[in-house]
């Protein structure tokens, strides 16, 4: 447990929660990042611009963070094939499952949605099993 960062993680979580409350209070939108992303490519085209601005905010946060804390350390030994497979599964799964860690997790649990609680329990479970298999059985340096 030598990498345990309780204070930073709690503060970061509070900021994420506040940002979600902000988007709901000011824009009337749910801060589910997968839904915001998939909505950019929805047909017929809906209101795309706010989605683009939210995502630009996310990317700008990374740029600002690197300027303050230095560049993020690169991950060695994790192949791009794994990155592509993971991305496909996350994109497909969040679309049919109607949410991700933010939409079902932060927002869905926050409104006491049983549907979101079920989704969170399932993706946590498959996430744990997959991470253990990928690291310890297949031996990927993920």
């Amino acid at each position: 447990m030598h990498n345990f960062t309780p204070v930073a993680s709690l503060i970061g979580g509070i900021l994420i929660g506040l940002a979600s409350v902000w988007l709901l209070a000011a824009n009337g939108r749910i801060a589910g990042v997968s839904g915001i992303l998939h909505g950019l490519f929805a047909q017929p085209p809906g209101d795309r611009l706010w989605r683009l601005f939210f995502i630009l905010g996310l990317v700008t946060a990374g740029i600002a963070w690197h300027a303050y804390a230095g560049p993020a350390p690169a991950r060695e030994g994790f192949g791009l094939g794994w990155a592509a497979a993971a991305g496909l599964l996350v994109g497909f799964g969040t679309r049919i499952g109607g949410g991700c860690t933010s939409g079902h997790g932060v927002c869905g649990l926050g409104r006491l949605s049983l549907r979101s609680l079920v989704a969170v329990a399932i993706f946590m479970a498959t996430g744990v099993v997959t991470a253990v298999i990928v690291r310890h059985v297949i031996g990927v340096a993920s």
């Binding site: 939210f54 679309r95 499952g97 498959t126 298999i133």
Partner: protein, 133 residues
Amino acid sequence: MIAHLSAFGAGLLFGIGLWFSGMANPRKVLDFLDVAGNWDPSLLLVMGGAVAMTLPFFRPLIRKRAITFEKTAIDTTLAAGAAIFGIGWGIGGYCPGPALTALSNLSAEALVFVAAMVVGGLFARIWPSPSGR
């Protein structure tokens, strides 16, 4: 325009939270999911801190805004989608928010992941009833 700036600000704060908390570091995420390794429980506190903020405000705000949710069923589509998402999350350590803010790294893995995530979402249109949040 004010609404768009507000969405930008919310994304910015959300992203700062992701970096501050460690969620934007896929290795730290996998150290949480990999319970058989050197387990790092930090991400429980990320989720706890975030939900502690949404819990008191979401129900009143949703009522005030009269927001309705199209999808309410707890069915196999929900279960399959969540299971598939979890598998992808467990492989790469990226969920959608961290992947998007990690585009700022200009790393090949973040670019490939996000491109694949968009394609995966488009593939989901062949599913009988795709939903998005």
